[in-house]
């Protein structure tokens, strides 16, 4: 009966929903809307003009996704506020959503490939992937994921032709899972705290408070920032959603969150747990001073699915990220494993 009522509510909302407004029932309901347009996140979908209540944001140090460009929005229903958290993600109320569109420039214009939505429902966060149609007029649900051939030029000028992977819903959960619950990753104060983003959210009444000492992550490509801070920021956003004690790689014992202090847990002279051939011929995750003896770098430099890390969403090597982590490991004083 509940499902039926939900369906009726959805139908009614679709009929009477404010023109150009977000369809809150589609976010909080139980179903999986077939098309992105049903949410009303955009007043002009083809131009991706955000509706009221959507706040565009970016991260100082973002996840690498095959050089794709990303347009990210937080949606909060009318009157709702995010709760500030100094460590974890901003606490968004039920009814909120995160909307993230991935694409590449084609003839100088951003062409969307897929839009991933994270919907905060009463039972928790629900991820759904949508894939844009050829005309770019709407995106269709693809719960099981898919692959799309993509050609692009990376920032160094190198051309790539890849099979771009849209994750299936479970794969969304692999990265977003924290102790079995789906959790946002990027909307943490330290990633958002730049360019006046958090101040704007506060001023717009979307954030409950903003302490003056809110943390800020290093920009991974800011040459003026300390190398250690940049490399660890890159590793956190690219790896720590799995490599933390409550994540998908909990059994590995390798934990790459910024707060981690134990050197072995951070990879220094840590032997692989279940890396299999992912370890290559190398003995330790990180050998200080010797990047080419470090498993971490071996896996970052590979695109073989049995070796590559992260396991999902990477068909190319992030050359600039590899260079950063290489420089970081090189900068560590050489030493020997202790007993």
């Amino acid at each position: 009966m509940k499902a039926l009522l939900g369906a009726v509510a959805l139908f009614a909302a679709a009929l009477i929903g404010r023109p150009g407004g977000v369809n809150d029932a589609a976010i909080t309901g139980e179903g999986y809307p077939a098309r992105l347009s049903e949410f009303g996140f955009f007043t002009d979908l083809a131009a991706r003009m955000p509706a009221q209540g959507l706040f565009r944001y970016d991260l100082d140090t973002p996840l690498f996704s095959d050089y794709a460009a990303k347009e990210r929005y937080i949606y909060l229903p009318a009157g709702a506020r995010a709760k500030y958290d100094p460590d974890g993600p901003l606490d968004l109320p039920v009814g909120a959503a995160l909307v993230k569109t991935f694409g590449y420039p084609v003839d100088g214009r951003f062409k969307p490939l897929e839009t991933r939505v994270l919907l905060h429902r009463a039972g928790g966060w629900v991820p759904i992937p949508y894939v844009w149609n050829a005309e770019g007029s709407d995106a269709d649900i693809r719960r099981a994921g898919t692959r799309i051939p993509v050609a692009f030029v990376d920032p160094s000028g190198e051309r790539h032709a890849i099979s771009y992977a849209v994750p299936n819903q479970n794969q969304c959960k692999d990265c977003h899972g924290l102790a079995g619950r789906v959790t946002p990753i990027g909307i943490k104060a330290h990633y958002l705290n730049h360019g006046g983003q958090l101040e704007k959210m506060l001023a717009a009444g979307m954030l409950d408070r903003l302490p003056p000492d809110a943390p800020r992550v290093a920009r991974w490509d800011d040459q003026a920032a300390p190398l250690d801070a940049r490399a660890r920021a890159w590793l956190e956003i690219n790896c720590a959603h799995c490599h933390n004690p409550r994540g998908a790689a909990s059994n590995s014992g390798l934990f790459l969150d910024l707060a981690r202090t134990d050197p072995e847990q951070r990879g220094l002279f840590k032997r692989p747990t279940a890396a299999g051939r992912g370890a290559g011929t190398r003995d330790f995750d990180i050998v200080p001073g010797v990047p080419d003896a470090s498993i971490l770098l071996y896996r970052m430099e590979s695109t073989d699915p049995g070796i590559a890390m992260p396991e999902l969403g990477r068909a190319t090597v992030h050359k600039e990220g590899v260079a950063l982590v290489r420089q970081w490991i090189e900068s560590m004083p050489k030493s020997a494993p202790g007993r």
Partner: protein, 396 residues
């Protein structure tokens, strides 16, 4: 409308009790159809995979509790990952009370089937194989349950894994039985786990047949009570093809059963032969480690009632050839590094035992080899367990 609603309510109320079959047949677009079925399944449902070859490009995953995934047989339903482009394994299970049975996974780029935090999982009549034979480029583990409570692996076959064929890690209450592991680096491996029964299996033509390990710096330590009983561990003669960085890359070719650093292990009533290094090896963890609470010694190890055939004729560990020469050409069936001395409490009636008297971490050149006879002392108290009845029923 009112009547319709009432009818719908009755139907809706009734549905949850009705377990559905979701059928997926071989054919085009297998990836999305199969993955969709795994997403659509509800607790109690069975995803029935038809006979035929399913050519897959990405890992599959299941995250719904209480689902059975059932094929038409390990030779009839084949999930081929030869063309896999992404994901670290063929099939990933992250939900509880799942039954996997009667299908095969071939040529995955990473692990074959991984189940993580998947309590009460049953693997029954499943085959995981790398069809090109043993190669360093094969995936690491065949079946790979980790961080799970209650694991049943029954009638499973794994061939060609570049690490361990059947690998159970950081789990409790584990049964591996009536299964076959061939041409892997390690046939069956129980690592950093507690309460395990490895019984009635065949481990042949691996580098090492059955491994029981406790390693440092992992989130969960081994908790012992590992029974290795009534297995055939024969002709483990495949040269070690693990990529050199792995722990199993150090396993000497021709190892039957290897116990490393785990406590409370009983190796009894097995048939062991054709293992060129040793039928049974008991060793401490030899690498440097920083994990403060870690115990590198094996303790309370019982080796009894095993039937030892030909062994020790091609010892592949460092210094093995020289030792064999000194002992008249072959090594005895049981090898102990001697590290830890009396602390280890190695007992039973197997033997003779070659003991090296090595200090922890010391090189083989410091060995003081001697042949010893085990004290057939009473076994130390043992802990037994039973898997939930529903798991046994699912494996019928």
């Amino acid at each position: 409308m009112l009547r319709f609603c009432a009818l719908a309510a009755v139907l809706l109320a009734a549905t949850p009790a009705l377990a559905r079959d979701i059928v997926v047949e071989a054919g085009p677009n297998a990836q999305e159809r199969l993955q969709s079925a795994l997403l659509d399944a509800r607790p109690g449902d069975t995803v029935r995979i038809g006979a035929g070859r399913f050519e897959l490009t990405d890992g599959l995953s299941l995250d719904v509790n209480g689902v059975t995934v059932r094929g038409a047989g390990t030779e009839r339903t084949v999930l081929s990952f030869k063309g896999q482009l992404g994901a670290g394994e063929g099939l990933l299970v992250t939900s509880d009370d799942v039954v996997l049975r009667d299908f095969a996974v071939e040529d995955s780029k990473g692990d074959g089937i991984k189940s993580k935090g998947a309590d009460r999982i049953v693997y029954k009549n499943v085959r995981v194989e790398w069809t090109g034979g043993p190669k360093a480029t094969n995936g690491a583990y065949g079946v790979y349950p980790v961080e799970s409570e209650d694991v049943l692996i029954d009638g499973v076959t794994v061939k060609g894994a570049s690490d361990a064929g059947i690998y159970v890690g950081q789990s409790n209450r584990i049964v591996v039985r009536n299964s076959t592991a061939m041409y892997n680096v390690a046939g069956i491996e129980i690592e950093n786990s507690g309460l395990a029964e490895v019984t009635g299996n065949l481990a042949a033509h691996n580098t090492g047949g059955i491994l029981v390990f406790d390693l440092p710096a992992l989130p969960k330590r081994g908790a012992g009570y590992v029974l290795v009983k009534g297995n055939r561990v024969v002709d483990n003669d495949t040269p070690n093809f693990a990529p050199p960085g792995n722990t199993v890359a150090t396993v000497p070719t021709g190892t039957g059963v290897l116990v490393m650093a785990e406590n409370d292990v009983s190796v009894t009533g097995n048939e062991l032969s054709g293992n060129g290094t040793a039928n049974i090896m008991v060793v401490a963890y030899r690498q440097p480690f920083e994990d403060k609470g870690y115990d590198p010694y094996p303790r309370n190890i019982r080796l009894a009632g095993n039937k030892h055939g030909r062994t020790g004729f091609a010892p592949a560990m460092p210094g093995g050839k020289e030792l064999a020469a000194a002992l008249g050409g072959t090594l005895p069936p049981v090898f102990w590094d001697g590290t830890g001395g009396d602390k280890v409490r190695l007992v039973g009636d197997d033997g003779p035992v070659l003991a090296l008297g090595l200090a922890l971490g010391a090189g083989i050149e410091t060995a003081k080899p001697q042949l010893i006879k085990l004290d057939n002392a009473a076994p130390s108290p043992w802990r037994t367990f039973k898997l939930p009845a529903a798991m046994e029923a699912a494996a019928k």
